[in-house]
């Protein structure tokens, strides 16, 4: 039987064993999160091809939730949490909403269908570099943290420091634009990947004093983007 590594990971992610592994190993990727937007995963993987990103973990098109995300953030990573809840089922969305609130104090709204609301078709990101990226039809508004991206007046991207790291919530997918080689999207992601060494300073100014462990404590595990997405 020809079972590709990717399919093996998919199967593993869907199995209860995945969660059990995550509980057993604090460094394990968040197996409980699945990807509802494969195109976004492909976009991130393509944009980050060949780059070692030990301090950054990307969860493109994320549906559902896994408590391991909080551990990774508090352990010093910048976790890019690109919500794919608009493309998953209601249970996934409820799980995600509860997880974000409990772990990071972020509140997310039900997905909004942008084109029925006549909103402008661009996501404007302002951190760590400004970028204008075409929207992806659905967006999830977020409250809490520092707003770093909007579609029209709707806050859809937020940075929330926690522990030694931070969560970057994206309620409008950018992965597909990365896959289509949108230059602004690519430049924005490059800035994010380059950013972690200074995240502590940024986080202090944004959210008051936090303590930060030495980077060496979490540089041992390099999770390439295409393997951390399950």
């Amino acid at each position: 039987m020809g079972l590709s590594r990717r399919n093996f990971l998919r199967v593993l992610a869907a199995a209860p064993l995945g969660r059990a592994l995550a509980r057993a190993d604090p460094a394990a990727p968040p197996f409980g999160v699945t990807c509802a937007l494969p195109e976004s995963r492909a976009g991130f993987a393509r944009a980050l091809m060949g780059q070692a990103t030990p301090l950054v973990m990307a969860l493109p098109g994320a549906a559902g939730w896994d408590d391991a995300i909080e551990r990774h953030v508090r352990g010093g990573r910048l976790v890019i949490f690109e919500s794919g809840a608009a493309f998953g089922d209601a249970r996934c969305f409820a799980e995600q909403r509860a997880g974000l609130r409990s772990a990071f104090g972020l509140t997310i709204d039900e997905p909004v269908r942008l084109w029925s609301e006549n909103r402008p078709p661009y996501l404007d990101l302002v951190w760590p570099a400004p970028a204008r990226i075409r929207d992806f039809s659905f967006a999830i508004a977020v409250r809490g943290g520092e707003v770093v991206g909007r579609i029209g007046g709707l806050p859809v991207a937020a940075l929330r420091p926690a522990g030694d790291g931070a969560l970057l919530f994206l309620g409008s997918p950018v992965g597909p634009a990365l896959g289509h080689a949108d230059p602004e999207a690519r430049a924005w992601l490059a800035s994010v990947v380059d950013h972690p060494p200074t995240i502590a300073a940024r986080s202090r100014s944004a959210a008051g004093a936090i303590t930060r462990a030495a980077p060496a404590a979490h540089s041992a595990t390099t999770i390439a983007v295409n393997t951390s997405i399950v």
């Binding site: 509802a36 494969p38 084109w115 075409r134 039809s137 597909p176 289509h180």
Partner: protein
């Protein structure tokens, strides 16, 4: 060349049986079946029911020229939502399955739909990828996927060269062009599409088009053969040049207001004139 016409042209009150009888009587060789457009052929139609459709076609002395679908517009392969793309893959896969049951080797799809919301730069790679996956199903079934050139409605692949590059990117001998010679409007000339695509043409839709009218309001630009602006002599010569000897399938959008069955006879006679070269 062989003549066919779509079952989506049957009036509701005729039903499938009476429609088939008319098609045969009007002199056609085959019938194009439209998945999703008629009550007798939908996604809920079982294999056994599809076999029954085939029996009726056989009994009428016809064959199935190809299987088309009317579902791509609402469930495009290029949709942003992966769930919609999965639906598109499912109905096209069903087309392939039913084509095998119905004894034909070609299906028609409208691949890629550019809208204000879903931009061209997304639609292109998504459609290529979707067709590459479907080609893996089509190859063992030995059914060719013909992507129709609905350029103006799709806002996609507007020129023959662009369409060629697209098929090159898909890169499968099981994915080609279902050419509609009436769909080119004022953006080109069907005879040039024929020369550029040659062996990649899986099937041909025929109707005429009034180029001067453009695409205005609810007025159809389409008309019956020889009433529009297509250069039918040039089209015929181009088919000869590339050696296309396959199906010509009537797809008349403008319908007769009275004596609707007459359109079947008139169209059959026009196709005969085209094939015989008496133009």
């Amino acid at each position: 060349m062989k003549k066919s016409i779509g079952d989506n042209m049957f009036l509701k009150e005729w039903g499938f049986d009476k429609g088939l009888a008319l098609v045969k009587k009007a002199g056609y060789d085959g019938i194009e079946l439209w998945l999703g457009a008629t009550p007798w052929f939908s996604l809920e139609t079982t294999d056994a029911q599809v076999r029954e459709l085939r029996r009726k076609v056989d009994d009428a002395g016809l064959v199935v020229s190809n299987v088309s679908n009317s579902l791509d517009w609402d469930r495009p392969l290029s949709a942003r939502d992966p769930r919609v793309r999965a639906q598109a893959t499912a109905h096209i896969t069903r087309q392939i399955e039913t084509a095998q049951i119905l004894g034909t080797d070609a299906i028609l799809v409208v691949a890629g739909l550019v809208t204000e919301e879903t931009p061209y730069q997304e639609v292109y790679p998504r459609t290529v990828e979707g067709l590459q996956k479907l080609a893996e199903t089509a190859a063992p079934a030995r059914v060719k996927i013909g992507c129709e050139n609905c350029c103006s409605e799709q806002r996609f692949l507007m020129s023959p060269r662009e369409f060629k590059l697209f098929l090159d990117d898909v890169g499968s001998p099981w994915v080609g062009l279902h050419l509609d010679v009436g769909n080119i409007h004022d953006t080109g000339f069907p005879e040039q599409w024929i020369e550029i695509h040659g062996p990649r043409i899986t099937r041909v839709h025929v109707k005429d088009v009034m180029r001067h009218r453009g695409r205005c309001g609810s007025e159809s630009v389409y008309t019956n053969l020889f009433l529009g602006d297509n250069n039918w002599k040039a089209i015929r010569e181009a088919f000869r040049k590339v050696g296309y000897d396959g199906w010509l399938i009537a797809e008349m959008e403008a319908r007769y207001r009275h004596a609707q069955d007459q359109q079947f006879y008139d169209t059959a006679a026009a196709i005969d004139r085209f094939v015989s070269g008496q133009l």
